[in-house]
């Protein structure tokens, strides 16, 4: 049973998540009939399943909620905000119940009784309370004899019933004698093979009670004539005289007349002493316990750590494959080359496939946000709606998990500080209801997530003041708006005049930026006073493997993420060394570049011909000079050792096919550091 409980718990989690989603839709569109249906259906499923798998408390609560939503569904009552609030609290409670089904923790128990009370009072308002009566009728009586007359309707076969099975079942209840009556069977010509013409008379001695007999016929009670009559308080079928009598009745054409029955019983009691006759019992043939599985499922559940292992193995495979390719290159054997090429192709497909398995739609965390926005806007007394776009955008599950907190933080900020209350908004000529738009979309190997609100916006002048007072910038520093907005992400900067419950304490946007950078992502903020604020988060699709350009400077190999590479150029050393202001003309355009040999303090002689890799940096193009471009390379990212964690220019390392190590450049950081233009007036 345990395995089922586990499946149930997983399924319940999904159901609860769907429930929450449907409820939030209802929150925005209370008359969405489809969502009401969905809520009802989920409640129903939860109720049925939970009590089956031992989650009684959940069954209890869902039962009442189902009743309430039944009213809503049938139009008997409206969907009130109160009901919605209770249901949403119940949703949270269900999650707790999954971990604590028996209400062992005091808090769970409290919550349960409280919710149950609220729900029941809501039902009572409707004046109808259904009770979960589980009929447990144990009318224990021993050896009572019944006379049963069973006359099935002619069409009884048509709903799949076989009357013989019913008689068989009767026989299992105790001592039994059945007499078939076939007087109604017509001539062969007029006989309808799909109709039933036979009646039965049954004598049954059982200790199970009349209820059990009725149970046998429960599926056909409206398709038959059924008379159940208690004829004696003892087991008449143990008396040989009675059995003789039954046999006699059996040979007769007609059914037993009630008077005949009565007199026969009386005479049997008088004349005979009880004689034990053999029990006629059908033995249930033992059934084989063989199993066959023919389950066809469209999806399966896999434990997350299995996926992680798979990912790791694929990473290792990619590394080994690189070695094989290299080896094949060195040994000019066409057969080996063909194999290596094939392996490369397959491992590439395997890699892509495995990654797609590990991708989750952004939707999985959006529900939490919907909930947050609803709860907080109520708490803050503001009217705010969260609109989401592109939530089907898929991201690596680890990325998704790490994104949840920063996104929540940003949303909280928007709710708390961004969007004004209804009155202020009306004064500013904006609609009463504030709007937060969460939009996600792909862009190359990255996913962009934009959170846009139509709130008060941020005044750059205020940031400036604040930054000066905090000593973050020099009073005379001349910063563009963009640079000013960037200051928000610095540690120790918080624009909120006072900290509120909602937007947290002391945890500022710097944490957001740090978390996003950990994912090799970027955050950017744009804002216009009274128009709103937009924050854009850019994160890579996946973390562990990246397509890169393998380059060499001096004796060290580097990997530049292919997603940022724009174009490569071959130039002479002279062109690079003889420039003014580190600008070079490429394709008729002036491109600033970093001469990495100088930046890396390499003293060895530069080759006469060097390469410039042009990188997209923010909205500009910047060149990086390298000695040699070796080719494309799928880099399996490994973290750097402890000693190198502090530096920012290299985001990781990868092992090449020949066993040597290449460093993965973080081009954004690199260019920022060496261009000398980023935040020039920062006091560091």
């Amino acid at each position: 049973m345990d395995q089922f409980t586990k499946i149930f718990a997983e399924e319940a989690h999904d159901l609860i998540a769907n429930l929450e989603k449907a409820l939030l839709t209802l929150n925005q569109q209370p008359d969405n009939q489809q969502s009401v249906e969905q809520v009802f259906r989920i409640m129903h499923t939860l109720k049925g399943n939970s009590s089956m798998f031992g989650f009684e408390a959940m069954g209890q609560l869902t039962h009442h909620l189902e009743t309430l939503y039944e009213f809503v569904r049938s139009g008997q009552s409206a969907l009130t905000p109160a009901l919605l609030t209770i249901t949403l609290s119940s949703v949270d409670h269900f999650r707790n119940l999954l971990n604590d089904p028996a209400l062992q923790h005091a808090t769970t128990l409290d919550q349960h009784t409280q919710l149950l009370g609220q729900v029941e009072s809501l039902i009572r308002e409707k004046g109808q309370i259904k009770t979960t009566a589980i009929d447990d009728l144990n009318n224990k009586t021993d050896g009572v004899t019944y006379y049963i007359k069973f006359r099935p309707a002619a069409d009884i076969f048509s709903n799949g019933t076989n009357p013989l099975y019913l008689l068989d079942e009767l026989c299992h209840l105790g001592n039994c004698r059945a007499i078939p009556r076939m007087a109604r069977v017509p001539d062969l010509e007029s006989l309808e093979p799909a109709s039933c013409y036979t009646n039965w008379e049954v004598f049954l001695a059982t200790d199970k009670g009349e209820e059990a007999i009725r149970d046998v016929f429960i599926f056909v009670e409206d398709r038959c004539e059924l008379i159940i009559q208690k004829i004696a308080d003892t087991d008449l079928l143990l008396m040989s005289a009675f059995i003789e009598q039954v046999k006699e009745w059996g040979t007769a054409e007609d059914e037993i007349a009630p008077e005949a029955l009565q007199s026969a019983i009386v005479s049997v009691f008088h004349s005979s002493s009880a004689q034990v006759s053999g029990n006629v019992k059908n033995n249930n043939e033992a059934r084989g316990a063989g199993k066959t599985k023919e389950n066809t499922t469209s999806s399966i559940r896999v434990a997350a750590d299995k996926l992680d292992t798979l990912l790791n193995l694929v990473s290792e495979l990619v590394t080994s494959q690189a070695r094989l390719s290299l080896f094949a290159e060195e040994h000019s054997s066409p057969e080996l080359a063909a194999i290596a090429e094939n392996v490369e192709k397959i491992s590439r497909q395997l890699r892509d496939n495995t990654f797609s398995i590990c991708l989750l739609p952004l939707e999985t965390i959006i529900v939490r946000f919907q909930r947050l926005v609803r709860d907080l806007s109520v708490e803050l007394g503001k009217e705010i709606v969260l609109i989401t776009e592109g939530t089907e955008t898929e991201l690596d599950k680890t990325v998704i998990e790490s994104l949840a907190d920063p996104l929540l933080h940003i949303l909280r900020n928007s709710l708390d500080h961004g969007i004004e209350d209804a009155n202020t908004r009306l004064q500013k000529g904006k609609p009463r209801q504030g709007k937060i738009l969460l939009k996600a979309f792909y862009s190359g190997a990255h996913v962009h997530i934009q959170i846009e609100d139509d709130g008060a916006g941020i005044n750059p002048a205020k940031i400036r003041e604040k930054a000066i007072s905090k000593g973050l910038i020099h009073p005379e520093a001349n910063l563009s708006d963009k640079e000013l907005f960037d200051l928000i992400f610095l540690p120790g900067f918080s624009t909120a005049a006072k900290l509120t419950d909602v937007s947290g304490r002391g945890v500022g946007m710097d944490v957001v930026r740090r978390k996003i950078s950990d994912l090799r992502g970027e955050v950017e903020l744009q804002s216009r006073v009274d128009k709103g604020t937009a924050i854009t988060i850019k994160v890579p699709l996946t973390l562990s493997i990246l397509d890169g350009l393998l380059v060499r400077i001096d004796h060290t190999r580097y990997v530049i993420p292919l997603s940022v590479v724009d174009k490569c150029f071959e130039v002479t050393h002279h062109q690079l060394s003889n420039t003014f202001n580190n600008l070079i003309v490429l394709d008729g355009e002036q491109v600033p570049f970093c001469y990495l040999r100088n930046e890396f303090n390499l003293t060895s002689e530069a080759p006469p011909i060097e390469q410039v890799v042009v990188i997209r940096y923010e909205d500009k193009r910047v060149g990086l000079s390298v000695d040699v471009i070796e080719g494309e390379y799928q880099a399996v990212l490994k973290p750097l050792g402890k000693l190198y964690r502090q530096q920012e220019l290299i985001s990781g390392a990868t092992i090449l096919g020949d066993g040597s190590i290449a460093l993965v450049m973080d081009t954004n950081k690199l260019i920022k550091q060496y261009s000398g233009s980023a935040n020039p007036s920062l006091i560091s």
């Binding site: 395995q3 089922f4 499946i7 149930f8 399924e11 259906r41 129903h44 499923t45 109720k47 049925g48 399943n49 009590s51 089956m52 798998f53 069954g59 039962h63 189902e66 009743t67 039944e70 259904k130 979960t132 009566a133 076969f157 048509s158 709903n159 799949g160 019933t161 076989n162 099975y165 019913l166 068989d168 079942e169 799909a194 046998v216 429960i218 599926f219 409206d222 059934r287 084989g288 316990a289 063989g290 199993k291 066959t292 599985k293 023919e294 389950n295 066809t296 499922t297 469209s298």
Partner: protein
């Protein structure tokens, strides 16, 4: 020969539990995730019995039973309904559609088997 039972339910846990119970008892079990999905099994399998849930997406239990009963091969096949006690009026509707009987959720595994054995041998 082993009898084949078609189990139709949109809930994974119910499907697993019912199939496990039936398979342990020696039946062959086919599962459908909703009425629409289950219809595909009717043609190519000799199904002795059908157990179906009521509320399902795409094609619900009652619609499914109606469809099953239109097929000549399945006019007399027992069909069991998985219901809860709150669905009395649905039960009637399902019976009209051609359901043989029902099992009330929550049910015990042996209760399920008993009900199944009531209808097929």
């Amino acid at each position: 020969m082993k009898k084949t039972i078609l189990v139709v339910d949109d809930s994974d846990s119910i499907r697993s539990l019912v199939s496990f119970t039936l398979e342990t008892a020696g039946y062959t079990v086919l599962t459908g995730i909703d009425g629409q999905d289950a219809l595909q099994y009717l043609e190519d399998n000799e199904i002795s019995m059908i157990i179906t849930d009521l509320h399902m997406p795409n094609l619900d239990g009652i619609g499914f039973i109606r469809q099953v009963r239109t097929r000549t091969n399945y006019q007399f096949t027992p069909i069991l309904l998985l219901t809860t006690e709150s669905q009395a009026e649905k039960k009637e509707e399902a019976k009209q559609a051609g359901a043989t009987g029902w099992i009330v959720k929550p049910f015990q595994q042996d209760k399920l088997l008993a009900t199944v054995q009531k209808l097929i041998r």
